[in-house]
């Protein structure tokens, strides 16, 4: 071997031991890259403003508790919303332009279930205790959300519920197979554990409302729409036409109303579907009659499809005009409707189709055509001294008397759970700002707390958390560097089979495994957020990306950064920007 000899002759080659650091190439720069987290479209689309891109990032790293806490910062009901929210986040998901959107809805439910199974306790602190005490009327999603967020901000809250159980419409208006009681009670329990006092069986009358205004520093009214609307047709009586909501309430309270024979459900919303599917589960036959077309039905498409699978029949362009007793049954006269043009929101405008009528003999009829307030004084006034309307609530503030805030379905244009959460959150911000900074500060605080430029509000931003440093710019798909992602199929929500579903009120949607949840969360682009993928670090030709211990420590060394912008281009998720010097 001549290994030694091989290495004896020195090579004559150029080598420099002088540091290149003396050449501050940063002086060549006229463009300056920097880290700037932005807003993900899903979070802007979420009425509750949940930080979805961050939630999925954490879930993908199996930081399930942190992911769950990130939801709780914006929404006290992940278990409920993971089941019944209409998930507009998924419609806006940038990944839909690539393969298919992230299953945010399934993941939210997974995180909630995981928190229950592992008995997670949220670790975030309440802010310092405030002197004001708030009364909240109604323990539905709006009232409890107001209590949750006010409590987070340091206020003592007392919630008054007229029924023996808390939860409002979540408790009595949504069937068990969509939202199991245990899930709801566990979420309410967590709110109570945070120090919110919930008094059930305590109806508030107009008189006792005046008492509340004397005892508390502010009152939040979130009594909801609990009374079903009547149809207003010839022959209508309480015994002839049952209130669909009352029927659902009876079942939730443990009742088993007889559903023998044919039940007709009038309506096209989720309540109509819930009533019809409950009838099927109680052994009856159900037909839904809807006055517009099937495609105009406001019910969730998935719910309609499952109802049909379960044997519910659906007839559109039919409206009842008369009901009359027919032996032990009823004879319902139906008017055939037709479409004449479109109304402003694109639904077909309907009109009676001449005198085309038909008759149907039925066992019972349920009205599910919408709901109203139960007491007229719940109705928020549209004006008055100190009256201010916000996007998700309205309030009497500078009246000299204690502030009163109306929220939830009483003021929301869109009446559903997630908008109710938004209402409770906005009410908490309005009251907190009013107490601490005065009326004039409210508008700007609300503006500053927006998620992106839409109506959604973030409590984390309001409280000055890390999220408040983000740009309001919503990341569009074309700013995602899709070269760094691979096609992956979306997780399918596992469900009971149609045959299994109709045998009981057992929950239909099944859990996904942690493995599937992590894989699904890993599909998320994390639009606008840095997940420390280190692309910037690897691509920087000047070694000017400096990584720290924490994500906040990551920065650019401007002494040497030439401003080439490669880091910004190669950032898969648009968490950087390039600006002029």
């Amino acid at each position: 071997m001549e290994t030694a000899a091989i290495n004896t002759k020195p090579l004559f080659m150029s080598r420099s031991h002088v540091t290149t650091e003396s050449n501050k190439t940063g002086t060549w720069r006229y463009m300056r890259p920097r880290y700037q987290e932005k807003t993900s479209p899903c979070s802007a689309a979420c009425p509750a403003g949940e930080d979805i891109a961050k939630i999925e990032m954490l879930a993908g790293q199996s930081a399930f508790k942190e992911a769950w806490e990130t939801i709780l910062l914006e929404n006290p009901f992940p278990g409920v919303c993971g089941r019944v929210c209409f998930h507009p986040c998924e419609s806006e998901c940038n990944r839909k332009n690539f393969d298919s959107p992230i299953a945010v809805h399934s993941l939210e439910r997974f995180l909630s279930d995981t928190s229950v199974r592992n008995q997670f306790q949220p670790s975030f602190e309440r802010l310092s205790k405030k002197p004001q005490k708030i009364a909240i009327v109604g323990s539905g999603p709006a009232g409890l959300s107001a209590a949750w967020f006010l409590s987070m901000l340091g206020y003592d809250c007392d919630v008054f519920e007229s029924l023996p159980k808390a939860g409002g419409i979540l408790h009595w208006g949504i069937p068990e197979y969509r939202l199991p009681s245990a899930v709801l009670q566990s979420e309410i329990g967590r709110i109570a554990e945070r120090g919110v006092r919930i008094f059930t069986g305590r109806p508030i009358s107009f008189e006792s409302f005046s008492e509340l205004r004397k005892k508390y520093s502010a009152v939040f009214l979130g009594c909801g729409y609990s009374r079903g609307r009547s149809l207003g047709i010839v022959g209508e009586t309480e015994s002839a036409i049952a209130d669909g909501l009352a029927f659902l309430r009876e079942i939730r309270n443990g009742g088993h109303p007889s559903c023998k024979g044919l039940s007709v459900v009038i309506g096209g919303g989720n309540t109509a579907i819930d009533v019809a599917r409950s009838v099927i589960r109680l052994g009856g036959k159900a037909v839904i009659l809807y006055r517009r077309r099937r495609q105009d039905m406001p019910a969730f498409e998935e719910e309609i499809l499952m109802a049909l699978e379960e044997g519910v029949e659906l007839s559109d362009l039919l409206t009842p005009i008369k009901i009359e007793p027919y032996g032990n049954q009823y004879r319902l006269t139906l008017q055939r409707m037709k479409i004449e043009g479109e109304d402003r929101d694109g639904r077909g405008r309907i009109a009676p189709d001449g005198d085309k009528t038909s008759e149907i003999i039925v066992e019972r009829v349920f009205a599910a055509t919408g709901a109203d307030i139960a007491e007229s004084w719940y109705n928020p006034p549209s004006h008055g001294k100190g009256w201010t309307a916000f996007s998700h609530c309205s309030a009497f503030l500078e009246t000299g008397d204690v502030p009163v805030v109306y929220g939830g379905d009483l003021t929301n244009e869109v009446k559903n759970v997630t908008h109710a959460v938004a209402s409770g959150k906005q009410a908490a911000m309005v009251l907190d700002t009013f107490f601490r900074q005065g009326f004039d500060a409210i508008e700007s605080r609300l503006m500053a707390s927006r998620v992106g430029n839409g109506p959604s509000l973030s409590m984390e931003i309001y409280m000055g958390g890390r999220r408040s440093a983000r740009s309001k710019q919503v990341v569009p798909y074309n700013e995602i560097n899709a070269d760094y992602f691979q096609f992956e199929s979306r997780v399918a929500q596992p469900r009971l089979l149609a045959g299994e579903r109709t045998e009981s009120f057992d929950e239909i949607d099944l859990r996904i495994s942690p493995f599937l949840a992590m894989r699904e969360a890993g599909r998320c682009f994390n639009c606008g957020l840095c997940n420390e993928c280190d692309n910037c670090y690897h691509f920087c030709p000047d070694l000017s990306v400096i990584r720290g211990k924490n994500i906040e420590d990551r920065h650019i060394d401007y002494d040497y950064c030439k401003g080439c912008g490669i880091c910004v281009v190669e950032c898969p998720r648009n968490a950087m920007i390039l600006g002029e010097e």
């Binding site: 091989i6 090579l11 004559f12 080659m13 150029s14 420099s16």
Partner: protein
């Protein structure tokens, strides 16, 4: 152990046994089989090596320049357009004194698209400072790959092991694949003469002024020249361990030959058969096989050719305007001898056309029947062909 291997896999086996640490390649027919099986070895843990996938041959060699600079043994394989795309970095590799070893499968350059054997791709890189070896069979491919590491690391210049497309790369032949211990006895672990070190940072290949550039080039030239001598030493050591020997050139029956055919690559095997036949018929013919093309074994070539009457060079390549590249090199090697035989250049077998015994015999007859070359290069077997499809 004797195994029946494709030429491509003979390369891969040698790379596996050479303890290569970093491999990078971009697929191109007919090279792909080589790195395909190497990537498989890396994935299965049969090689303790990092396989870097890249988006082009340019990036491939760039990646290896980086890797080799950190002081580890590296490998790549390419062919034709892929080698052409590496061109800039071929110069870089040699001037940066990095002993990278490459398997180069000789394939025709496009257009028209042609994936078959042709030497123009590697020969047109003759000025890039790479050592070049042309192989005749799969055993030689295997052996030369190991030798290339030894030589390359000795003189700190990169080396190309060249094999004919399909005729070698895709043809199965018995190959003696030695045990690891035997290979280790011939090829010691790589000890770099320099390497990047984060503990003692410096910049390699920095700016060089006119006052030093020429000297740097002269240093490379001297080491390339020295590679001729060093290759003899490498072969001696190789023979000690494996009992096989090739030589930078091989002169077959040249001592009394009046006409010597100069060949390279697989054509040599065909020429050996013709030689046997012609000799039986009393023809005084010899064959000179050129294995080492860079550095060109000038003295050895002169010694063999100076006393013969005529030289016929078979070129499976062409440098437009200057003829066959081996013929040019042979002429250059002979021209300063006071008396030297005429050199007949023959272009044959471009783009994978077969060079049969009949073609070579035709070359021999043509050479024998002329006193002087009628032209710089004679193109063998041109036919009327249709190009439109």
């Amino acid at each position: 152990m004797k195994r029946v291997l494709e030429g491509s896999h003979a390369v891969a086996e040698a790379v596996r046994l050479a303890h290569v640490a970093v491999v990078s390649a971009y697929p191109i027919t007919p090279q792909t089989h080589i790195v395909e099986i190497i990537s498989d070895y890396c994935a299965k843990g049969m090689m303790n090596a990092r396989f870097i996938r890249v988006e082009s041959e340019h990036s491939c060699l760039a990646a290896l320049i980086g890797a080799q600079s950190t002081g580890v043994r590296t490998f790549t394989a390419t062919s034709s357009q892929g080698l052409a795309l590496m061109h800039e970095l071929l110069h870089w590799t040699s001037a940066a004194r990095l002993p990278i070893v490459m398997a180069e499968v000789n394939r025709a350059l496009a257009p028209g698209w042609n994936i078959w054997a042709d030497q123009t791709d590697s020969l047109s890189q003759r000025d890039t400072g790479w050592i070049q070896f042309y192989c005749e069979d799969s055993q030689e491919v295997f052996d030369t790959t190991l030798q290339a590491y030894r030589l390359s690391e000795w003189v700190n210049l990169p080396a190309m092991v060249v094999l004919d497309a399909f005729l070698l790369s895709h043809t199965y032949e018995p190959v003696d694949v030695p045990e690891q211990e035997e290979v280790d006895r011939f090829l010691p672990p790589y000890v770099p003469k320099f390497h990047l070190d984060t503990e003692n940072p410096y910049t390699l290949s920095s700016l060089v002024n006119p006052s030093a550039y020429m000297e740097m080039r002269y240093d490379i030239a001297k080491d390339m020249d020295a590679a001729r001598e060093r290759f003899r030493d490498v072969e001696e050591e190789f023979e000690t361990v494996f009992n096989r020997h090739y030589g930078a050139i091989e002169a077959i029956c040249c001592a009394d030959a009046e006409i010597i055919l100069v060949t390279s690559g697989t054509v040599t095997s065909t020429a050996r058969l013709l030689l046997e036949d012609l000799r039986k018929r009393g023809e005084k013919v010899g064959v000179l096989k050129i294995k080492m093309f860079r550095p060109f074994p000038v003295d050895a070539v002169r010694r063999v050719l100076q006393s013969t009457k005529k030289v016929a060079v078979i070129d499976r390549n062409v440098s437009f305007g200057a003829g066959g590249i081996f013929a040019q090199e042979i002429r250059a090697a002979l021209c300063n001898l006071p008396l030297h035989p005429p050199v007949f250049g023959y272009i044959a077998g471009l783009g994978g056309r077969d060079i049969t015994i009949a073609v070579l015999e035709d070359v021999y007859r043509k050479t024998k029947s002329s006193d002087h070359p009628p032209e710089e290069s004679t193109w063998m077997g041109l036919q009327e062909v249709q190009c439109e499809t």
